[in-house]
């Protein structure tokens, strides 16, 4: 993160324990406005738990911080108004049409109905989805569903959008197109916080952190991490950093 950047996520010593199990162990990180922050780690490393705390879904056992300028413990409800969230399976209501889904989520995030209409039209045009607006979501292809889920998470122009493995199960061409969407949103000042399994995608991020057994083991820009670990690819970096991992499935 550059020094002159405005900080939108800042957490210090964030910890979550379930009984004697420490899912997230004192993580500290800052994310600046407009950054694409890659949040990497093996399954079970604690990514989802950490992300749930940042989204105000779960309270930390210790530590704290702010997201979009609001305290993650005392102002969780305020945080929810300023973020967007896209889940692993591009979750949308399958039995609702494209337009009904967008309308529902935009209404939930407090957008006025005429704003929703104009914004949705704009998005339909950009994505070339005009003729799909009355199609049931279950009938559209996976790639479109992914774009739609991202749109539903960002239509209300949140400060930060959290993407939980947004490209799982999608072919490489579609993944690249999806990253174009992410870049477009980021260039408009939206902060992107993304978890992923694809290490080639990690290269697209401004900065990444690698989580191992609940702790952040590495945090920097992809170029500097490669330099630091004398690795040619992010894949190698990840393997070096995560080689001592005890928790994974």
């Amino acid at each position: 993160m550059m020094d002159n950047m405005e900080t939108v996520i800042s957490v210090n010593g964030l910890t979550k324990q379930f009984g004697s199990f420490t899912a997230v162990d004192h993580i500290t990180l800052q994310v600046g406005r407009g950054e694409i922050f890659g949040f990497l780690g093996a399954n079970g490393a604690g990514k989802t738990t950490a992300m749930r705390m940042l989204c105000g879904l779960s309270y930390p056992t210790a530590g704290g911080g702010t997201v979009a300028g609001f305290d993650i413990v005392s102002q969780a409800e305020e945080i929810k108004r300023h973020i967007g969230y896209m889940s692993q399976r591009f979750s949308l209501y399958e039995n609702l049409t494209v337009w009904e889904n967008l309308n529902l989520f935009a209404t939930i995030y407090g957008m006025a109905s005429k704003d929703i209409k104009s914004k949705a039209e704009e998005v339909f045009k950009t994505l070339g989805m005009e003729n799909m607006r009355n199609t049931l979501v279950k009938e559209i292809p996976l790639g479109w569903k992914q774009k739609l889920a991202f749109t539903a998470a960002t239509l209300h122009s949140p400060d930060i959008v959290f993407l939980d493995e947004p490209t799982g199960g999608v072919d490489p061409a579609t993944r690249r197109k999806f990253w174009e969407m992410i870049y477009r949103a980021s260039s408009q000042g939206m902060t992107i916080f993304v978890t992923t399994h694809y290490l080639d995608e990690a290269e697209y991020c401004s900065r990444i952190s690698i989580m191992v057994d609940g702790r952040i083991k590495a945090l920097d820009s992809p170029a500097r991490l490669k330099e630091q670990y004398c690795a040619a690819t992010m894949d190698e970096v990840f393997r070096i950093v995560a080689k001592d991992a005890k928790r994974s499935d």
């Binding site: 989204c55 105000g56 879904l57 779960s58 309270y59 409800e77 929810k80 108004r81 973020i83 969230y85 889940s87 692993q88 399976r89 979750s91 949308l92 209501y93 399958e94 039995n95 609702l96 009904e100 309308n103 529902l104 989520f105 209404t107 939930i108 995030y109 407090g110 109905s113 049931l136 539903a152 959290f162």
Partner: protein
């Protein structure tokens, strides 16, 4: 706030409308059950095939046979010999045989009955007994059946079916619909959004509550017209006690949805935990009073037991609500407890 709530309701209604098959099943099932239990299935015993064995014909034996023949419940299958009776019973040609003997000028009788179906056996024995011994009875007994003078089975079944339908539809459908949102991940999207958990819960419960009210109207209309249940002002009490029961069933559905993580699990839990106990232990079919004590205690925790017993008082006996205060307070207590527990569990993720 209100627009968010409306859009959640609209979403749920659209889902219901588009899931046309489920809604049809849900609306048709109560009607079919009511008509089946009301007309086709009955505990009355009809068409009992009877053979008579007469050792020596007298005027009295002739009279007894005539009475059997004249009785609409029996089909008289002729006179048989002792040795034939067993054969006839074994082959299922007759359900019962009456052996008439005359000893010292007095008519005595023996009834041999196929007891492979106990209900049939007990009832037909009682019928035969009353028909045969009629003449020798000194004091006539006048039976006065209150509340259900024709002893119609429909009267007995309607409250039971209502008790079952609402638990099934409310608990099963709500739990399955919430769990399916957990499975597809849309529940997470709602939880991350600024929508308050209580709005999410109400957005789920209200549409199913309305659907249940439609079903209630349907069931009551059928009961009071086609099935001929007595109609009176007590229908008002029937409606509000049922609404209380519906709210209880919805809360149970909510509670199941917090425990089950897959739709199949939700279906199994609501099926096994509600359907079977309701049928077996609620008094819907088998009277609670006839059960062994431990089962009677167990039946106390089954909401349908209290609801069905209240419905019998309100619908059939048509007594004022003062007679069902215990039932209503138990249901109310259960509703509050289940609802509180469900909401607590729903919010317990933090």
């Amino acid at each position: 706030m209100s627009t968010i709530f409306q859009s959640l309701i609209k979403k749920e209604v659209l889902h219901l409308v588009r899931d046309f098959r489920t809604v049809t099943v849900v609306l048709v099932m109560p009607v079919v059950l009511l008509l089946l239990f009301g007309f086709a299935i009955s505990t009355e015993v009809n068409n009992v095939n009877v053979a008579v064995v007469v050792e020596r014909h007298t005027d009295e034996t002739r009279q007894a046979i005539d009475r059997l023949r004249a009785n609409p419940y029996f089909t008289f299958c002729g006179i048989a010999t002792h040795s034939e009776v067993e054969e006839l019973l074994r082959k299922g040609k007759v359900d019962a045989a009456v052996v008439l003997r005359t000893e010292n000028g007095k008519l005595t009788h023996q009834i041999i009955v196929d007891a492979s179906n106990t209900t049939m056996a007990q009832t037909s024995t009682a019928y035969i007994e009353s028909v045969i011994s009629n003449s020798s009875a000194g004091v006539p007994v006048v039976a006065n059946t209150l509340y259900n003078p024709q002893l119609k089975s429909a009267y007995h079944f309607v409250p039971g079916i209502m008790g079952m339908i609402f638990i099934l539809i409310c608990a099963m459908m709500t739990s399955v619909s919430i769990v399916s949102e957990k499975e597809t991940g849309t529940m997470n999207l709602l939880l991350v959004s600024p929508v308050r958990p209580r709005t999410i819960i109400l957005g789920k419960l209200v549409p199913y509550f309305l659907l249940s009210c439609i079903i209630l109207t349907l069931v009551l209309a059928l009961s009071y017209t086609v099935l001929g249940l007595p109609f009176s002002a007590s229908v008002v009490n029937v409606v509000w006690v049922t609404i209380l029961y519906i709210v209880l069933a919805l809360s149970l559905g909510l509670l199941i949805s917090t425990i089950a993580s897959t739709q199949v699990a939700a279906l199994l839990v609501s099926g096994v935990m509600f359907m079977i106990p309701v049928v077996l232990l609620s008094g819907m079919i088998f009277p609670v009073e006839n059960m062994p004590l431990p089962l009677q205690w167990l039946s106390c925790i089954i909401p349908a037991r209290w609801y069905i017993s209240a419905m019998r008082v309100l619908m059939i006996q048509q007594l004022p609500v003062g007679y069902v205060l215990t039932e209503v307070s138990v249901l109310l207590g259960m509703t509050l407890a289940v609802l509180a527990l469900a909401i607590k569990k729903f919010n317990a993720k933090k």
